[in-house]
Symmetry: C2
């Protein structure tokens, strides 16, 4: 079953992506800028992207298709409630449309849960029964494997690991509430602290960067690698917030391992000592030594995960040869 | 199987309790003050308590025995690491000793997880696939049912729902870290705020109570029921903290219902509007209307839950007639 060809799709606010996947490997991939006109326009984009990657199957049948998107997404009904960053998607029956367009079984999945499945089946958490995957990029999302199963919860919306209050007096989060883990520890929050440091000290490494353009988190990572003290302090602060949130997640889910992915994980080697120190200080004794590791699949985790989930959940005999059965 | 007689035990820092349970009903119960000399002395207490409640089985076989205790407790190994409030329990092989003493299959379970199972099988959350149980008393504990199964996690230690950071600048928690949900919202924190209010205004309802003895949370509940404004404000503050913590738990586990038990839940009717208001403000849209209800089994949730789990997990044909097979 896992040797079947399957398609993974990723619906993002800025990019739509498609991949042909077999046994956890991406055999072909493509992407386009998200058409913001509406869902049918995006469906047209996906038809083109899927036609493109399907060639790599060499005519072999494609068994299933899976799409991941940012949550909260009701994956039981498969109907989009709304997408904050994309107008016109209200009450769009995503799963049924995908299945009708491609003529094969389709699933939709929250992107964090899909990526958690990918890392569990083919990445850093292979063979474990309990793992928490956290992606730290613009926001913080993730998914949970517990007791040997992928956790879904009511309407498939469990595991919004970026949206618990970490700092009751903290900054406002993208979700509207105050002081979420995401609001203090995501790449966006890190970037703000980096820019504040650049403004505060114009003659520093970051201050000089600011003269050339907008300073971002990656500049602090670069500075830290070069040994700049201010950048190292920013990395330490970010690691401290991450460690605090991760310690909470260990208590809540008791994983054997916590896997960190997302854009910020490019600095995992720099962040790791501070994350570990905070967990040692914050976690209850039996949770202190749970390993925190870097994700292995990178940007592919969601695509590989949702494609693999789709083929597992496929129950009918339908197959698909790269042609769309409806338009 | 559920019609079998089974024993539930509860190991607390101040009280040890035993109950004879069948089909979720407590048929007999007894309790004693915990012998703090050490584990073997407590085992002797449990032998006496079990002998007492077993009479109610009328000679019918008792199939299994389950004990719950405060976590973190490694319920996979069944060995106690240590109990902060009880000396001498280091590396005590609790499950094996219970099984040897009573000659029947034994299990040990974290008390929050046991109570969650009790409320799921026989209480407020019957028939649901996803529920979070939170006990708010001296501390905050709980357990989670997700995707139709009781969540255990690595070493059976998942669901420490009182120990995620809610207020990064908050008071120190019993677990040693700063600003846990428990540290700001448990009965202990509520009692402190009530005493502070009493001290601040000696002529108030609470101030007058303070002349008669130590003021506790229950006095504020009493005052609130009588319409005292200061007491109502304290209830509103407590409800706000609870609502903030509960909103986080909805995002983390996506339950269909959150069940609140523990000593503080005697004031559930007073707290509920404030809890609901905070959840409406704090939770992401798809989580805002998840019901929050009062637990149904009260103090019995853990005993009923662990007894029922024990009989479910019992796999051998052994039975027990109320006599201890070893001393």
């Amino acid at each position: 079953m896992n040797d079947d060809f399957t398609i993974g799709l990723d619906l993002g606010g800025t990019q739509v992506r498609a991949a042909l996947v077999r046994a956890g490997k991406v055999l072909a991939r493509t992407a386009a800028r998200t058409d913001v006109s509406g869902p049918e326009e995006v469906m047209r984009q996906f038809r083109a992207l899927v036609a493109e990657v399907s060639h790599a199957a060499g005519g072999a049948p494609i068994r299933a298709i899976g799409m991941c998107a940012p949550g909260p997404l009701d994956t039981v009904s498969g109907v989009i409630d709304h997408i904050p960053t994309l107008p016109g998607w209200e009450q769009f029956p995503l799963r049924d449309r995908l299945s009708a367009i491609f003529g094969i079984p389709a699933i939709v999945e929250n992107d964090g849960i899909a990526a958690a499945f990918g890392e569990w089946q083919y990445g850093a958490a292979r063979g474990l029964d309990h793992t928490v995957y956290v992606t730290v990029s613009t926001g913080i999302g993730g998914g949970v494997v517990v007791d040997g199963r992928l956790m879904h919860g009511a309407r498939g919306m469990a595991g919004h690991v970026g949206h618990f209050t970490l700092a009751a007096e903290g900054p406002t989060c993208s979700c509207g509430r105050v002081g979420c883990f995401e609001a203090v520890a995501a790449g966006t929050a890190f970037g703000k602290r980096v820019r504040a440091a650049a403004n505060k000290n114009p003659t520093s490494f970051l201050g000089r960067m600011a003269e050339k353009g907008i300073v971002e988190g990656r500049h602090a990572v670069e500075g830290a690698r070069a040994g700049d003290a201010a950048c190292l302090a920013l990395i330490a602060e970010e690691a401290d917030w991450l460690g605090s949130g991760f310690a909470s997640l260990l208590h809540l889910y008791s994983p054997q391992m916590l896997v960190m992915g997302g854009g910020v994980s490019v600095a995992f080697d720099l962040l790791e000592p501070g994350i570990r120190a905070r967990i040692r200080r914050d976690a209850m004794a039996p949770f202190r030594e749970v390993p925190v590791v870097k994700a292995k699949l990178g940007d592919d985790a969601g695509l590989v995960g949702v494609a693999s989930l789709a083929v597992l959940q496929q129950r009918t005999a339908g197959s698909f040869h790269g042609r769309t059965s409806k338009t």
